[in-house]
Symmetry: none
Subunit: 417 residues, 2 copies
Amino acid sequence: MPSVEIIAVGTELLLGQLVDTNTAYIAQRLAEAGIDVYGSAAIGDNRGRIAQAVRGALSRADGAIMTGGLGPTVDDLTRDGVCAALELDTELYAPALEQMEKTFTALGRPMRANNRKQAELPCGSTPLDNPNGTAPGFIAFARDGKFVACMPGVPREMKPMMTEKVLPFVRERLGSGNGIYTRVLHTIAIGESEIDHRIADLFRSCENPKIAVLAHDFRADVKIMAKAPSRERAEAMIAPLQAELERRLEGYVFGCDRGTPASAIHHLLQERKSMLAVAESFTGGRIAAALTSVAGSSESFAGGVVAYANSAKIALLGVASATLERAGAVSEEAAREMAAGARTRFGAELALATTGIAGPGGGSQEKPVGLGWLALDDARSGVLVRRLSLAGDRETIASRATTIALGMLWQHLALSP
Amino acid sequence: MPSVEIIAVGTELLLGQLVDTNTAYIAQRLAEAGIDVYGSAAIGDNRGRIAQAVRGALSRADGAIMTGGLGPTVDDLTRDGVCAALELDTELYAPALEQMEKTFTALGRPMRANNRKQAELPCGSTPLDNPNGTAPGFIAFARDGKFVACMPGVPREMKPMMTEKVLPFVRERLGSGNGIYTRVLHTIAIGESEIDHRIADLFRSCENPKIAVLAHDFRADVKIMAKAPSRERAEAMIAPLQAELERRLEGYVFGCDRGTPASAIHHLLQERKSMLAVAESFTGGRIAAALTSVAGSSESFAGGVVAYANSAKIALLGVASATLERAGAVSEEAAREMAAGARTRFGAELALATTGIAGPGGGSQEKPVGLGWLALDDARSGVLVRRLSLAGDRETIASRATTIALGMLWQHLALSP
């Protein structure tokens, strides 16, 4: 069986200052391609140890995939370590240097001499463009043809390089006939134990494809994994199980695979030809940020107000000061008026409002930290209101309220005619 | 120097289904105790590979600390692998069995025959109670006196076993009496290579305390690590180097240790007794979300408008429709008017505005994807404007613009009197 080992480089990993998420990401992509990973390692920024780890990995496996240590500083030693292990010199790759020069020009920052080092790659290697950063990656080759693919450690730079360049290369070299193909059903507004209750029998009976539930904070994914020689065969195996799961989880599955709550909301709003506005207090812009992460969201999202101060609730959303005095800013009435105000001011058909106490201060006996109100004002059907009582620290409360608000909005759009 | 290696066992780690956080936790405890970790590894549930990894670790280090693979099922093979590596048999540890029986009784669950296996430990080893689960841990010994400490993989069970049992053991055996103490200087608005250029000599000359640069997307941290017998001694070693670094990076260090750009901004605004408002187009609420993540931010942050549609820019921020027609929504003029509008409407002393094209659509020859404008309107000193030209996908562009905007705001507050 062809196999690969993964090596993460960085002293910060061995000091426990950073949790290595790159290895799991790479392992997952390789698993999907049906390529075995027998081991992974993390090592410090030390040339000798890097070389030793590379030699060890290549003695056991057909190739190694590395992350980290490609930067311009003196403690970025992956290049040197790989050269030592494979007994290679480096040479300057002009296209890599050119790309870096372009990036620096675009950033308006001077390119230092030490950046040039990043364009010096092991002789005979294949450079890998990095459109998301300055450090190019590369695939170096040992004399026996085994390979070492090196990528930056910044996840945002590593991920596209892995899926677009390293994975196709590894797949072509080592790919066996079978891959693992997955379908992920994203649910919202339903608990993990309720999902488990509804599908426990399928869990036990399904081997290929098999099912897993991945819990996130306040939402969960159901994953179907099929081992098959082609995507078509896998699709045929997945389809009936997917249909059965969607039937059992009806009203809770907002999307498939790459979907997010925000993209599902965007599509439903476009179908309705409706524009949405938001008025956020304790979610502080998180709902707007989620909605605007969808490409083309300007077609369904008019905008939002982050109304933290009472004066902003009055001036920008038209909340009555009498309401704020009588019921307070964290109240059903305030949430309703914020939603109505956002709908009117933005000229939108729907508006979603949030108000609450994210803490750690600001709570009282009567209105404790974690209390919140959501209001969804739909010109077609009226106002939906929901009271929240959330646990956690400030960031957790704001993030959970955001998830619940998006879930409420999605369910309303999906279920109302 | 005494050193230890960490080995995580579990096929799920190599399929990428689980991110290994145990290794970072263990590494951090060891670092604080001044014990070096030269490498870590993850391996699958395979007896031969586990034995190989243990032998490899003990050939390089004085001991190994392992997590996972201690359960009752047939694929829990850590015990067997360690016995194979150290050439030891197992024996039944009566106290471990008794403790397990108690735990099962307390849980009201029957104890199965395969659970007995968990009380069979390598001959001569020290058992480690597990009050939080059923699998006891143990410390086994090689003939040359090197050790292998094995703990369960469930973090809730592993953590107390690590701090209360394994760490005191390792500290007594290998501890030099020294711990590693760190100070992190957070920088913004300066590139990693520029930092390197300014401090490269310190990098090379400093051994204890030593320096590392950690790059994030569009900002970087400089870390000072001192090995010392006490926090007081470490502080005395760190202080002069910190002062020198702060001098060389003046105008770019926004905080220390736990600070974020948003918390630094919040403190500077409070010092000035100023309120801030934001008007966001292509950052879509991300700046507001960052600012409101700080506890107490309502004292410095009045609120914000996410003005996606032109109509919202006009209605909520008072941008002149003539400006939008003449110069377009992505223009210096529009950014200036958005900032001025936000400042007035929220009654704030400062306002920060962003407008730009996050893509993937909406770009043109003249105004490509990634073009953006920032405007910072300060009632005390006037308007600062900055043009952006950013690379990356939609999310990357929005996130980089957010970091740059926060950097610009922080620098303005920090440097203006």
